[in-house]
């Protein structure tokens, strides 16, 4: 057997905590005395929670993050293997129903520090300006209480911190560029680019993705091994575990893993006092805090608030509007498969690589509003077999035959907007988990506009697949990305939180994660979730500094100084925007001049 170039690979080291092969958690973690109140307790250290604790800690506050899953040591815990990565997901029971039940588990949420950002594919498109006003423009759903321009500086900030690699010119929505070079194309990206080009459809390749194309701090660049949704052991793909958690710990945040928060406690004065949780030994504990922020994902966040019902809030904490758990959204995620005479080998290169947003916006020629994006995906063998069991109805010898042709197949994902509907909900089931807490029941029904988008998206993607040269094309219906369930709004009567995530009902209770999205566009939600988290952090910090008039703030300064240190000096190409931005100051943060 040949010896590896650099000798046998070392692997995990005793007494050292690695996140990626080079990056070590290099500071001892602070431990706040039990029983002592802290400034902030954050429930769930995932996409949003990771960004949040980093900022609050760096601003000098005492922060405790309680995370239901483990604090991964990536060398020890993660494997370059599909079946061996089962433990990355939230596998605890949830009940699903409705006319179009949503498969969860590996298809939806993470459990462990980093949350869903551990196993996301890493597509990081921004929302379009039109996404913030679909009620005004299209007469459906609701407008956001903020505009694209309010979020734009945070998009730019997060694109540097993640950092996002992509083209210098990204043509859709508010056109912009990326500071890290786009990635090389793999076989699936070649399919999308070839098909789109033959049909005259604009397409970008190599990003935007949350994957390093050059080293960043102590994170190496991508090695194109294609295991992104099994967790990137390389540390090239961002998760908040590798991008923000190390800095959070350096600045004194305490992270308690394997701690499941059971309820939020309400004091007599109408403010929350902290949370009750089960620690890793199953012991009930209490953590008091001046502010509680729930960042548990679009299912667990409503579940926790519903499970925290108490006198005065019989229908769930912060639910005076009755909208908690409602307006849950998923995105249409149909995958179109094409078989080519030539080999593709779709397991190489990050599955998230190329996309087109040419069909994203409302088009008056359609019989539906809003639209869809088309993106590369790259299922590994087990996933591909499971897709084909539906798409082709393959089993037995047919499945063996299709799988022997694995290397001839390419796969493209539709990502379509589903509007928020009141009957798509998270409620409590009559089944309990190991802690005796009622589990979530997720009910999902597609409506007419959603069906039409799915149909149009599949049709267009099949057309592209054929134009690329596929001789056989098939598709599988599915969904991706749950958001909503504790939506933000301008009015306390039809939303749970305001645009900063503060619950209307309880001044020191916040929600900060995907559940606050009122609509979702056809962009993968991860970047938006992290951008909103940075904005909520800025608000919390301003509010604290400005204790005299806490609720008055609507415009708050963007705190560029809170970025992790490796971000300093990293630039962002400045394009002349077609649209004037009302947030001129945001464009000139210290990090953006690079």
């Amino acid at each position: 057997m040949k010896e590896p170039l650099f000798g046998a690979f070392d692997g995990a080291k005793p007494d050292e905590h690695y996140v990626g092969p080079i990056q070590r958690i290099d500071a001892p973690m602070r431990h706040y005395p039990r029983g002592e109140a802290v400034d902030f307790v954050v429930v769930g250290v995932g996409s949003a929670g990771g960004v949040l604790i980093q900022r609050l800690a760096k601003a000098g506050f005492s922060v405790v993050g309680l995370e239901a899953g483990p604090f991964w040591d990536t060398e020890r815990d993660w494997v370059s293997d599909e079946a061996g990565s089962h433990g990355l997901y939230w596998n605890d029971l949830r009940i699903i129903g409705g006319s179009d039940p949503l498969a969860l588990g590996a298809n939806n949420s993470g459990k462990g520090v980093g949350g869903g950002s551990v196993h996301w594919a890493g597509f990081t498109p921004r929302l379009h300006p039109s996404d913030f006003r679909v009620r005004s423009d299209d007469g459906v759903a609701v407008d956001w209480p903020i505009s694209y321009d309010d979020l734009k500086p945070y998009y730019e900030l997060m694109e540097r911190e993640i950092p996002v690699a992509g083209p210098t010119y990204y043509p859709w929505g508010d056109p912009h560029g990326y500071s890290y070079a786009p990635h090389p194309l793999g076989g699936v990206s070649q399919t999308l680019v070839r098909g789109c080009t033959r049909l005259g459809i604009p397409v970008v390749a190599g990003g935007p993705v949350a994957i390093n194309s050059g080293s960043h701090g102590s994170r190496p660049h991508c090695i194109y091994r294609g295991f992104c949704i099994q967790g990137c052991k390389v540390g090239a793909k961002q998760s908040t575990l590798v991008s923000h958690v190390p800095d959070a710990i350096r600045h004194g945040a305490e992270l308690r893993d394997k701690c499941m928060v059971a309820r939020i406690n309400l004091g007599k004065d109408g403010r929350v006092t902290g949370v009750t949780y089960y620690d890793e030994h199953g012991q009930e504990q209490e953590q008091r805090a001046s502010v509680v922020i729930v960042s548990g994902y679009a299912i667990e966040t409503p579940r926790l608030l519903l499970n925290s019902a108490c006198p005065g809030f019989e229908q769930g904490l912060a639910n005076s509007s009755g909208t908690l758990g409602k307006y849950l959204m998923a995105q249409i995620g149909n995958v179109v498969f094409g078989r080519f005479d030539d080999l593709v080998r779709m397991y190489k290169a990050p599955p998230a690589n190329a996309l087109t947003e040419e069909f994203y916006e409302t088009d008056p020629r359609n019989d539906f509003v809003r639209g869809y994006a088309i993106q590369t995906v790259g299922p590994l063998p087990i996933s591909f077999a499971q897709h084909m069991m539906v798409a082709q109805g393959a089993w037995g010898w047919g499945l063996r035959r299709t799988m022997m042709d694995y290397n001839h197949w390419s796969a493209l994902g539709v990502l379509g907007e589903i509007l928020p509907w009141e009957d798509n909900t998270v409620t409590l089931a009559d089944v309990r988990d190991g802690f005796g807490l009622p589990v979530a029941r997720v009910t999902f029904n597609l409506h007419e506009n959603d069906h039409k988008i799915a149909q149009a998206g599949v049709q267009k993607t099949e057309e592209i697949m054929r134009a690329a040269g596929a001789t056989e094309v098939t598709q599988e219906p599915r969904y991706a990305h749950l958001v909503g369930g504790a939506r933000m709004g301008a009015d306390a009567s039809d939303s749970v939180v305001n645009s900063f995530g503060r619950t209307w009902d309880i001044p020191n209770l916040y929600v900060c994660d995907g559940s606050i999205l009122p609509t979702q566009g056809s962009a993968n939600p991860g970047l938006t979730i992290q951008a909103l988290a940075a904005r909520t952090a800025d608000y919390l910090i301003s509010e604290r500094e400005n204790a005299a008039a806490p609720t008055a703030a609507t415009r708050i300064p963007v705190r560029y100084s809170l970025s992790p240190s490796e971000v300093a000096g990293r630039g962002m190409p400045r394009l002349k925007s077609r649209r004037p931005t009302t947030f001129g100051a945001g464009a000139l943060g210290p990090g953006s001049r690079g």
């Binding site: 588990g105 897709h387 798409a391 796969a411 599915r478």
Partner: protein, 286 residues
């Protein structure tokens, strides 16, 4: 949970890949065999109609071996994959009768008769281990019982179908009848056993079963060799990303023609994408 002595059963499976065992046991010993496998179970050469002898490594990448690359894998991955190859978990969830039926079911859902008997991939053990450990995929349909119960119900339902065809048990049916039984689950209309299938959605069970079988088979490095998948790739990574090119240690494709055994029904595919259960067990993508 039932615990019974299955040590002999599980050690058999770990030595020789258990798939062949049950298949051989279910038939009389006088059938014609090639390479230890009854001829009627073997895929054919479409030009000659001759049965193709079982191979050490079916598929179009002869000589490709992911395991030969293991010194390039990281330690944690190597440990997980080698354990999968060398120590299939023992059967503890299914009792002996259930295991016998399920073994034959797995042999039809993911047939391995084209594999040399000692190169078969244990599937039932992996499913059994999942059910024994209570591991689920994070959700349950409102119209489905918990997974372990669903499997037990399905075994009863499958036995009821076998009895409606005049056999005492599924393993006694001929290949065609076994496939007909399973195809009726695929179609969502089980042939018999209403009292069991009424308690759950048969097609959802089918999708869980195929998912579980595929999850066990395509997790195995021998299956990766068969389909030309590069396997674990950290810390080395890939360098030849375009045009389906192989890495220096991967192999080019050498195709051969084959047909499923004539008695089998599973090589004709009917898409389930338009059925209400279509997105039941879908993996994550983007």
């Amino acid at each position: 949970m039932k615990t019974h002595d299955t040590r002999s059963q599980s050690s058999q499976s770990s030595q020789s890949g258990q798939s062949g065992q049950a298949s051989q046991m279910s038939q009389q010993g006088d059938a014609e065999r090639i390479g230890g496998v009854e001829v009627e179970r073997l895929p054919r050469d479409p030009r000659t109609g001759q049965a193709l002898a079982p191979r050490m490594q079916p598929g179009y990448y002869p000589g490709f071996s992911t395991l030969s690359q293991q010194s390039f894998w990281d330690e944690a991955t190597r440990a997980v994959v080698l354990k999968r190859v060398n120590q299939p978990p023992p059967i503890t969830f299914f009792d002996a009768d259930e295991a016998r039926v399920m073994q034959t079911v797995c042999d039809r859902v993911l047939p391995q008769d084209d594999r040399a008997p000692d190169r078969r991939i244990p599937i039932l053990n992996t499913i059994d281990e999942r059910l024994a450990s209570g591991r689920i995929n994070g959700y349950r349909y409102a119209d489905m019982p918990p997974d372990p119960q669903a499997y037990r119900l399905a075994i009863k339902g499958i036995e009821a179908i076998a009895q409606s065809m005049g056999a005492t048990t599924f393993t006694e049916l001929n290949l065609r009848q076994q496939d007909l039984t399973l195809k009726s689950l695929h179609d969502g209309h089980p042939i018999a056993g209403d009292e069991y299938w009424r308690q759950m959605n048969a097609r959802r069970f089918w999708l869980m079963l195929v998912s579980d079988c595929a999850g066990a088979y395509y997790a195995h490095p021998w299956a990766w060799d068969e389909i030309g998948f590069g396997g674990p790739a950290y810390p080395r990574g890939y360098m030849r990303l375009r045009d389906g090119q192989p890495e220096p240690w991967e192999k080019v494709e050498h195709r051969y023609e084959w047909e499923a055994p004539p008695e089998s029904l599973s090589d004709t595919m009917e898409s389930l994408s338009d059925t209400p259960e279509a997105s039941s067990f879908t993996p994550g993508t983007h």
